[in-house]
Symmetry: C2
Subunit: 384 residues, 2 copies
């Protein structure tokens, strides 16, 4: 297959995937002779995947317990929430377990959001795509001239001026990695108490840090103080287990009950239930904490290497990915295709992202070795 | 732990599980010294689980591909539907893939059902529990004096008299196993064309048969003839993979689009995607067909053995379970507990099922050997 046909094939896969990238499986299944060396489109900690697989091997494969996990009905939502209650240090009644964070985003938007709904752009597209006829999305645009930095005062003025009733913020934000410190978050929460709903998506929070000790930022207890707050948390990114589909959200007890009263009965798979059980163990979490910090250090190195490429503008990120801007004369889709076909590196072309005007790519940090390969491949494509 | 404490413990687990049974995992985790030998509460073909595990072993464990399945995002809904299009012989655009049939039931009821909604009882409780304020559930009761047989003419009169706008039927029905032949189904569909929606749940259809050749009953093509028809299909039962959460539904293209336009993006796990891929292969389906027939034969034997127990009334079933009635003086919950604690056999006490007045148990058929153990244990409990 020649490059042009491949490019067209990938374009049509992309069109079929809407505002998301086709998965690596979808690409592999559709394009026979493609070799993908690094999936830097996918935002996860690969060291955490290793850790999870070691436990899975010992607990399920060696013992033969995998059969039970696959054959029988998994525990119900509330049962799984019990494992999380201990970790989050809040009541299980405040926890809704989701088939990935995406199910929670869908459920919360469909069920609880109505009226004027503030969505910061650029952002994860489902926040404005999963809306209903009861919702009017109002975009708050992060500006390139401000390096996509989130200005709290300006945002609060927007919330007031636009008579916003509900809002959502991803922290750190996807696709740029911009981060709100705990102080900034508290200031926002204090000034949006009258809103119906404040959704904070912390799917990338394990990669963020406030200072050099890289301490895990914990905000779970905030839901006890702010009744309009919903914290959404994917496990796909920090634990590297997107294929398992696991996420949870923290919210008022009445909201959890409302969701569970007419749905979401067995929405976690047996493997997701196994993961949450594992996550409940102190031993696992201690091991994970080392891995988390190691990955942050790896990511910091990676960002430095990206910044050393003079053709790229790298925007500030405290997530596990960087939004990078290509020179004006380079089309981001073609660049992405070249990286994929010639070097086996799959990155996210951001040309479909609302609120991003220019030639942007989002590049995930992977293992130390893979990151070196990404940087070297970028160099080669620039040289070609 | 003595029996009374155990009984109370199980009762409280049951209360927490609503109108469903606590899963075997939940019971094992909550009650340390309980030994469950046979889960005859769970309605699945265990031989099909064996078959699936053999393929999983070869395809994912031996090759190391399990990692990819767990680490990366699974394909999106429409991608997985492509595998099913071939099997169902209808367009992928008519297929909605669900995180288990339960997700589909929830989605369809929330999104498409409104007004007077006919639900046959006894039935699977989610059909009336997952309703919204837009829905008025109208029960159609199957009568014990008719052996819970479904009388088509009487039902159609009810639909007309009660001004029903949507209906749902499980075929074969859960918990009694009553079966509508293809001729009866067609007669119903022809006479309910004016309804908004006709939901036929075929989660147990692979266990049913019209004659001695045990041919698989295929109704997928009916959705091309009846625009108001939705066919719901769990894969948990016939393939013995409830822990994976896999199901699908067939419906008009516009309905699939409406569901996918604002949700259900990555609602299948990597393992569910793997299963649907496997299901798309002719080799697997040929192997499965042998297993399916073997299990039906095993189940027929089991029903005969149950009927030989004079204390039980066994109701006619073409599913993989039988609804049985205990003598008036035996409480079904206590009987279930005795079976569980003294013999390690877990069956479904039906005392919470709306529309079942009496002491009923639902007992699933398992492997030939397990079925013998079930029958012998039932005998022993009667003798105690």
């Amino acid at each position: 297959m020649n490059d042009i046909i491949l490019e067209q094939r990938i374009k049509s896969l992309k069109d079929l995937s809407g505002t998301h990238s086709p998965s690596i499986e979808t690409i592999k299944n559709s394009i026979n002779n493609i070799e993908i060396k690094v999936d830097a489109c996918f935002l996860s900690n690969p060291y955490a995947t290793d850790l999870f697989l070691r436990h899975l091997e010992d607990d399920l494969l060696k013992t033969g317990k995998l059969r039970d996990v696959l054959e029988f009905y998994p525990p119900q939502n509330r049962d799984i929430a019990k494992n999380l209650a201990n970790v989050c240090k809040i009541s299980e009644k405040n926890i809704f377990v989701g088939n990935g964070a995406i199910e929670i985003i869908q459920a919360v938007i469909h069920k609880f959001v109505k009226g004027r709904f503030a969505v910061t752009i650029p952002t994860f597209s489902s926040y404005y795509e999963f809306t209903t006829s009861r919702i009017e999305v109002v975009f708050y645009k992060l500006l390139k001239e401000n390096k996509f930095e989130f200005k709290v005062d300006d945002y609060l003025k927007f919330i007031k001026d636009e008579k916003i009733e509900s809002l959502t913020l991803i922290n750190p934000n996807n696709p740029n990695g911009g981060f709100l410190s705990m102080d900034e978050l508290l200031f926002i929460l204090d000034n949006t108490k009258k809103l119906d709903l404040v959704i904070i998506d912390e799917s990338f929070i394990h990669f963020a840090y406030e200072d050099d000790n890289l301490k895990l930022i914990e905000s779970q207890l905030l839901i006890n103080k702010y009744p309009n707050l919903i914290i959404v948390k994917s496990m796909s990114k920090d634990f590297g287990i997107a294929g398992i589909r696991a996420g949870y959200a923290l919210m008022q007890e009445a909201m959890v009950s409302e969701l569970l009263n007419n749905g979401f009965l067995w929405n976690s798979s047996g493997l997701a239930a196994y993961f949450f059980n594992l996550y409940g163990s102190n031993i696992f979490r201690d091991e994970y904490e080392l891995i988390r910090k190691k990955y942050i250090m790896t990511t910091k190195e990676f960002f430095k290497d990206l910044e050393s490429l003079t053709q790229l503008v790298v925007y500030p990120s405290k997530a596990n990915f960087a939004l990078v801007e290509l020179p004006k004369d380079i089309n981001s889709f073609s660049f992405m295709i070249k990286l994929l076909i010639n070097h086996g590196i799959y990155v996210r072309d951001c040309s479909d992202k609302i609120g991003l005007d220019g030639n942007f790519l989002r590049i995930a940090s992977r293992t130390f070795e893979e990151n070196l390969l990404i940087v070297n491949s970028l160099k080669k494509v620039f040289d070609e």
